[in-house]
Amino acid sequence: MNNLLLQVSDLALFRGERCLFSGLSFSLESGQVLQLHGENGSGKTSLIRALCTLLPIEQGEIAWRGNLLPAARDQYLSEMCYVGHSEAIKADLSPRENLAFTATLLNASDATVNSAVERVGLTGQNDLPCRHLSAGQRRRVALARLLISEATLWLLDEPLTALDGHGRKLVEQLIGEHANAGGAVIFTTHQPLTVNAIEILSLNLDALQSANDGSGGASP
């Protein structure tokens, strides 16, 4: 069960000329959950975006199941799901229409849409245009993408934004179930998050920046 999924070695990220951090190395196995810590501007979002291949990497390497990334991109994309700051939903379409579109793009069956909608607690709002939903409900639609994708690796940037207490519980449950099923999660959040029976690993980008000796990172 403990097979190695993601391996990051000696990664450095830049924003313009400014180095966000360098010498980041860590690895993630199936069943592991990793939280990124760091102040605003420490590069959490950039790291997540680099991990989901939206930011190019100039220095360092990322490997998925032992295959280096630019080459293994297609396989990686099919096993990775990213939920970022923006919900990636069309305000004029209903949750069902939005998620049906997602399902087609991700080669998932339509049946997963209904179960995902049910799971995130939006059954009643299924046919309302998303513009009429609250921010928290829209966030739930975005999270439903994770369930539809059936991806192994979840990359979540501030998944708790706009969610209420129930919503937070939902995210904790989803992460827990995903890890128990052999998936892996990397997320950032400014709110406390606990998952039953699972130890959340942590990676502090601030420490990395100040130490900057190339040995930093959480190597579980």
Binding site: A88, K90, L105
Partner: protein, 222 residues
């Protein structure tokens, strides 16, 4: 792949059906621009007939330019564009679907409206088939070329003027062949030459523009 093409096409058409201003405004713009010419030049029918091919084509070109700016805008703003790029589906296919949807929403109505505009400008009725054929091939090409510019400028808040600067020079061949097809029809000459050139441009654009659009979309988050 075909399924995702249809899915993107369907989604964009559905969104457009619920947001009328997106496709209605460029059409109204087209009508107004065409109306401005007689007002600026005078109601002389012969003169209008003479400049009608150029006016109709320039107006269509500007309307396309105006409409194409929003092609990727909302997808960029709400994060859908990221997810399209990360979906693992070939991005060229997805953008082709988006451009086709966009053309169906803005180009096709413009095409259907242009006979009316031709009549306003005193164009001979016999030239209308040539006008329609040239606009059909031409606006498709314009949408594809314009989409490259839209992709390159999507991350800019005020990309409109820059977009015009980038793609209007690239529109010139389409304008030349398109308006000359209508001019030839007015003069009673054959238009096959112009139309086949427009067809060739359209095929070239279908083949190569999606590559440039996809490449441009991949770099906007850097």
């Amino acid at each position: 792949m075909i399924k995702s093409f249809i899915a993107v096409l369907r989604r964009d058409l559905l969104v457009a059906a619920r947001r009328r201003s997106d496709w209605l405004n460029p059409l109204v713009f087209y009508v107004i621009v065409v109306t401005l010419f007689p007002l600026g030049i005078g109601p002389d029918g012969d003169l209008l007939r003479q400049i009608a091919p150029g006016v109709l084509w320039v107006a269509a070109l500007l309307a396309t330019l105006l409409a194409i700016e929003g092609l990727f805008r909302s997808d960029y703003d709400d994060g859908s564009l990221e997810q399209l790029v990360l979906s693992g589906q070939p991005l060229t296919v997805l953008v082709l679907a988006k451009v086709l949807a966009h053309w169906l929403i803005t180009g096709l109505p413009l095409l259907l409206l242009s006979p009316l505009m031709a009549i306003i400008l005193q164009l001979n009725l016999t030239s209308i088939p040539a006008l329609l054929a040239s606009l059909l091939l031409g606006t498709l090409t314009l949408s594809l070329i314009g989409a490259i510019g839209a992709a390159l400028t999507v991350s800019l808040r005020r990309g409109g003027v820059l977009l015009a600067l980038l793609i209007l020079p690239l529109f010139i061949p389409v304008l030349i062949f398109g308006s000359s097809a209508v001019i030839a029809a007015e003069g009673g000459f054959a238009v096959e030459g112009q139309l086949s050139l427009l067809g060739a441009l359209c095929l070239l654009a279908v083949a190569f523009a999606p590559l440039a659009i996809a490449a441009s979309l991949r770099i906007i988050w850097e």
